[in-house]
């Protein structure tokens, strides 16, 4: 379990990082916290010939509050977010999600940008940030662009990010005073990836409702019909949720459907009972 040979670059600037990626072709990988890339390289399941370490780039750090949203630098670690790097009601929601990722040792190094770029179908941030309606800021050779998370997530380990683009930051809309967040993740034990995941955002004040299922084997998905019901303050029955999930999950086994239904159902219960 030692990686195949590779060359290592520590990027001095975002521009240099993007240039190295553009020159390297598909064979060059960005290194952030190394918590996904490291194990894959050790198993030789990933064999990039070059690594571009972006870990020291100031441009990817920091958290700032702007009109209506919070901007989270891509290098923000799960641990920093868990410890309250983002303030207010949104910060508490993000801290809760972060605290449920892996173990503290992994959270100390793993980053929100790395998690989104990696797009593991069972990961936490893609599902949670889909429920929270985040936007992803990318820098590539052609300049900057921002993509809504629903368009960013493409499939298992697939995103709209080009190979020569770097995730710079994530914008997450601030939460209103009446907003509630429900999050239910089922996994074998803490630190394991989710086998079922429901994430729900509900703001009765603004009638905003987003219902997400994660751990789908592909990308996290919204459930529009459940969102419509929730916006009207309705609590769907488990059987109705199962009917909505079955096509989204693409012929799930009875066990998978049962668990996913329970995860989404319980996340909905959480926002509806937590008055």
């Amino acid at each position: 379990m030692k990686p195949a040979p590779f060359t290592y670059h520590r990027a001095a600037s975002l521009e240099q990082a993007v240039a190295l990626l553009a020159q390297g072709g598909g064979d060059t990988a960005v290194l952030s916290g190394g918590q996904s890339l490291g194990p894959m390289m050790n198993l030789r399941a990933a064999r990039p010939s070059q690594l571009v370490d972006i870990g020291r780039l100031e441009a990817l750090r920091g958290i700032s509050v702007a009109e209506g949203h919070v901007r989270i630098g891509a290098l923000s670690t799960h641990a920093a977010i868990e410890d309250g790097a983002v303030s207010g009601p949104l910060g508490r929601v993000l801290a809760r999600v972060a605290a449920g990722i892996a173990y503290r040792a992994v959270r100390n190094a793993g980053t929100i940008g790395g998690s989104l770029a990696h797009a593991d179908p069972a990961a936490d941030w893609p599902a949670a940030l889909l429920a929270l309606d985040a936007r992803i800021h990318l820098r590539g050779p052609g300049g900057d662009r921002a993509v809504a998370i629903d368009a960013f997530l493409a499939g298992a380990f697939e995103t709209a990010k080009a190979a020569d683009e770097v995730i710079v930051a994530v914008d997450v809309p601030a939460l209103g005073p009446t907003a509630r967040f429900g999050y239910v993740k089922f996994c074998r034990k803490p630190g394991e990836f989710a086998e079922a995941l429901g994430a729900v955002l509900y703001d009765p004040g603004s009638a905003q409702a987003r219902v997400v299922v994660g751990a789908t084997g592909s990308r996290a998905r919204r459930l529009p019909a459940a969102e419509a019901g929730l916006a009207a303050g309705l609590s769907p029955a488990a059987a109705d949720i199962a009917a909505l999930l079955a096509p989204v999950l693409g012929n799930p086994s009875a066990l998978v459907l049962k668990r996913q239904t329970a995860a989404v159902h319980r996340a909905l219960q959480e926002v509806l009972t937590d008055a």
Binding site: M1, K2, P3, A4, P5, P39, L43, R44, F186, R188, K189, P190, G191, E192, F193, E195, A196, A254, L255, K258, R259, T261, A262
Partner: protein, 782 residues
């Protein structure tokens, strides 16, 4: 000095270096010119090797290079057993995914792995046999083509029980399976071998529990005299039985070190461990219990199979699991009519080897789930049926139906103690009331009696290659008055650097801090078969006491001379020799007299000096039986299939506890591993024999968040057979958690009609069982 001898919970001496990160493991060693090894391993479960292409550059060895090294062959005197021949590097065939085919050496492990990618092996794939039923089919592909079938051994304990069974009013039949596991020590296997010309020796640093046994294995494999091999087992990050056999990789590394006259090291990584080392616990069986209407078991009929994998390991052999299981299935119960039949079956999986408690977890699993099934059948509480069947204290010593002599204990008291701690009536009330979270509550019990300190008597009947005999320890007084004790067992987590010092302290009255233990080195210690089978404290504890007593006899005349009293007036306490009228003399004075100023010695002293070796084996060495009751309370989530342990009690008795804190640690650690067996750990294979649980992301080990606050209720019933009344405790904790937790889950899901008989009880298994039971109810409805 406060009492620090037997019975004192003093902190572990060895923890000072461990807690500071200063332990010394094989991976910490450095040697100039060291070569690291990566093995080329089979990607197929069953295939013929057609050819091997080596890279143009680099050091690569295959079976052809090791032609002079004989295959590993383990013998045991059991009718119906035929040894296998395991090549050091696979030659004609590979029999499991991960089997070593070639070894690659380079300056770093990464470079060796690069080199291994350049080795080309041509395989002709053969159909694999993975489970027992497939392997036993008459037309099954044979792993070893020189054998008529895939049976390693057949072991039966026949008895005429049919008439009694038929007459019994209650019959219960259940099928059980225990999944294959990996032992998953923190540190994998590790070895560094080098030739030392000054000593004319192969010097081997290796993570091994039994250095002398491993030396014997190398002597056979390398055709080298034992005096020309020195095995040093430094600190070891957990053994659990995994580091007791002789494996091909270690032999290959030693061969290469001799061939190249260079130091060579191999360190097993987690991927290798979870593929090629997936090697424990896979046993399945059917139990028929025949009981009276009260639940008294009148006859027990067991038929089980051990999926032993591709080869029989050296020295105890793959047949050992069946021997252990058959002997102990009746457990702490008064079962007088018993028949057991077993098959040990060769399959295309890694060779199965003994893991903490060997086959006893499976034996206990079969017995304890059956007790609960009988309780259901007669409509009683499971504890009532246990109480009815338990051997009582008045019956001790008790000769079991399988010929074991349970030396001492009060099994019913153990059950009562655990039950009262758990407060069963209170849980029964909670169970009946609906819960806000919808989870189902259940309580489960499991009990066992464990044969510890297994010795010559037991192993002798088996005729294995190396059986344990008298255990020796060496004790000596240093010139400045401290004690050094050398012992042949190896300490790798048992706390023996502390407990053995406590034994010395008990005899000599010296502070354990002044007793240094030497162990794990064939060059420095007396011979021993090593640390396994919960034997070290019983056997080596007795040997250390004997050596210290003999040393005391040698010190006595010298102390008498210094205090000008008679030898018989000399005692030992507070780290000093004592004489009449409050006279004392320090051990340092005795050391000075003997070593530095022998001109002052009185006439007639024993010239053998202050350095003695003495030995021990209990006069009646049929073993000392520890026993335990585990009670678990669980909450089962019927949607996710997950289990939370709400309470867990262990009433444990291992005789005299040399260091109660260390005993607690052993019981807790074993219980944690047993919780892994019960709920999490499973080496999965696909239909082609590919392992599917190859990282710790898919092989789930319980961690701190899965282990509840286990409550311990220790008692001490000293063994009448052993020195100080000690019984072994190293393995016990791991035996009972799976049946206790499965019984608890089944209790919780009783209303759902669920009765699981397969461990681990994963969320998938639990949900599937709920679905099947629901389907059955729906089908049964009019």
């Amino acid at each position: 000095m406060s009492h620090k001898g037997i019975g004192a919970s003093i902190p572990r001496k060895e923890d000072e270096r461990f807690l500071k990160g200063r332990g010394e493991y094989v991976g910490d060693l450095f040697r100039p010119g060291l070569l690291e090894v990566a093995f080329v391993r089979s990607p197929h479960a069953h295939a013929r090797i057609l050819g091997i292409t080596r890279p143009i550059k680099g050091i690569v060895y295959t079976a052809a290079d090791l032609a002079a090294v004989p295959p590993i062959r383990a013998q045991i005197n059991l009718p119906g057993y035929r040894a296998t021949e395991q090549p050091i590097l696979a030659d004609r065939k590979v029999l499991f995914v991960g089997q070593s085919v070639a070894m690659c050496l380079a300056k770093s492990r990464a470079l060796a792995e690069d080199l291994s990618e350049e080795v080309g092996v041509d395989y002709e794939e053969l159909p694999p046999v993975l489970d027992v039923a497939d392997a036993l089919r008459p037309d099954a592909p044979r792993l070893h083509e020189d054998r008529p079938d895939n049976l390693l051994s057949v072991l039966n304990a026949e008895a005429p029980i049919d008439a009694i069974a038929a007459a019994a009013p209650v019959h219960v039949t259940r099928h059980y399976t225990n999944a294959r596991q990996a032992m998953a020590p923190l540190e994998g296997r590790a070895i560094l071998a080098e030739w030392n010309d000054r000593a004319d020796q192969l010097v081997v640093h290796v993570g091994h529990q039994n250095p002398h046994v491993f030396r014997a294995a190398l002597a056979i494999a390398l055709n080298l005299e034992e005096r020309r091999i020195r095995i040093i087992a430094p600190d070891i990050g957990g053994g659990f039985g995994y580091k007791a056999p002789a494996y091909p990789e270690e032999i290959a590394v030693c061969w290469a070190a001799m061939k190249l006259h260079r130091p060579v090291r191999w360190i097993e990584d987690r991927f290798e461990h979870l593929t090629a080392g997936a090697s424990a616990r896979e046993i399945s069986g059917t139990v028929h219990a025949h009981a009276d209407a009260e639940g008294r078991i009148l006859a027990l009929d067991v038929d089980f199979a051990v999926n032993i994998g591709a080869y029989s390991f050296w020295p105890h052999t793959g047949a050992f699991e069946a021997v252990q299981a058959i002997g102990i299935i009746p457990g702490p119960y008064r079962i007088r009519h018993y028949r057991a039949r077993s098959k040990t079956v060769l399959t295309n999986k890694p060779p199965q080897t003994p893991y903490r408690a060997v086959a006893r977890p499976a034996a206990c699993f079969m017995m304890e789930l059956t007790i609960d099934a009988v309780a259901r059948a007669v409509g009683k509480e499971p504890h009532e049926v246990r109480a009815l069947n338990l051997v009582s204290a008045a019956e001790m010593p008790y000769a079991s139906i399988t010929g074991k002599l349970y030396d001492s204990g009060d099994y019913p008291a153990s059950l009562r103690s655990a039950l009262s701690a758990i407060d069963l009536p209170a849980w029964r009330l909670k169970q009946a009331a609906p819960r806000a979270d919808g989870r189902a509550i259940g309580v489960g019990i499991a009990m066992y009696t464990e044969h510890t300190g297994i010795s010559t008597n037991t192993f002798g009947t088996m005729g294995i290659a190396l059986m344990p005999g008298y255990e020796q320890a060496n004790a000596r007084l240093t010139p400045d008055g401290d004690i050094e004790v050398a012992m042949g067992v190896q300490n790798h987590g048992q706390g023996m650097e502390t407990t053995m010092a406590q034994v010395a302290s008990e005899v000599l009255g010296i502070d354990p801090g002044r007793v240094r233990l030497l162990h794990g080195d064939t060059g420095l210690t007396p011979y021993s078969t090593g640390t396994y089978a919960s034997r070290a404290m019983v056997m080596n504890g007795g040997a250390v006491a004997a050596a210290c007593e003999r040393l005391a006899e040698r010190m006595r005349p010298l102390a008498a001379h210094l205090m000008q009293c008679a030898a018989h007036e000399v005692g030992f306490s507070g780290g000093r020799a004592t004489g009449p009228g409050g006279a004392t003399v320090g051990f340092g004075e005795i050391g000075r007299l003997w070593y530095k100023t022998p001109n002052e010695l009185p006439p007639g002293v024993d010239p053998a000096g202050l350095d003695v070796t003495a030995g021990y084996r209990p006069e009646d060495d049929r073993g000392a039986f520890s026993y335990s009751t585990h009670v678990a309370v669980v909450a089962v989530d019927r949607d996710f299939g997950s289990v939370e342990i709400l309470d867990y009690v262990v009433a444990d008795d291992c005789g005299t506890r040399v260091n109660p804190m260390i005993v607690d640690g052993q019981v807790l650690g074993g219980t944690a591993q047993g919780i892994g067996t019960a709920l999490y750990e499973e080496c999965l294979f696909d239909a082609s024999g590919q392992p599917k649980s190859v990282t710790l992301a898919d092989y789930i080990l319980p961690g701190p968040t899965e282990i509840p606050a286990i409550r311990l209720l220790p008692t001490e019933t000293p063994s009448p057979k052993t020195r100080f009344g000690i019984k072994g405790v190293g393995e016990g904790g791991a035996i009972a958690p799976a049946p206790a937790l499965l019984n608890a889950i089944n209790d919780a899901l009783r209303a759902d009609g669920v009765e699981l008989g397969a461990a681990p009880a994963t969320p998938d298994r639990i949900l599937a069982a709920i679905e099947i039971a629901r389907g059955a109810r729906a089908g049964a409805a009019p």
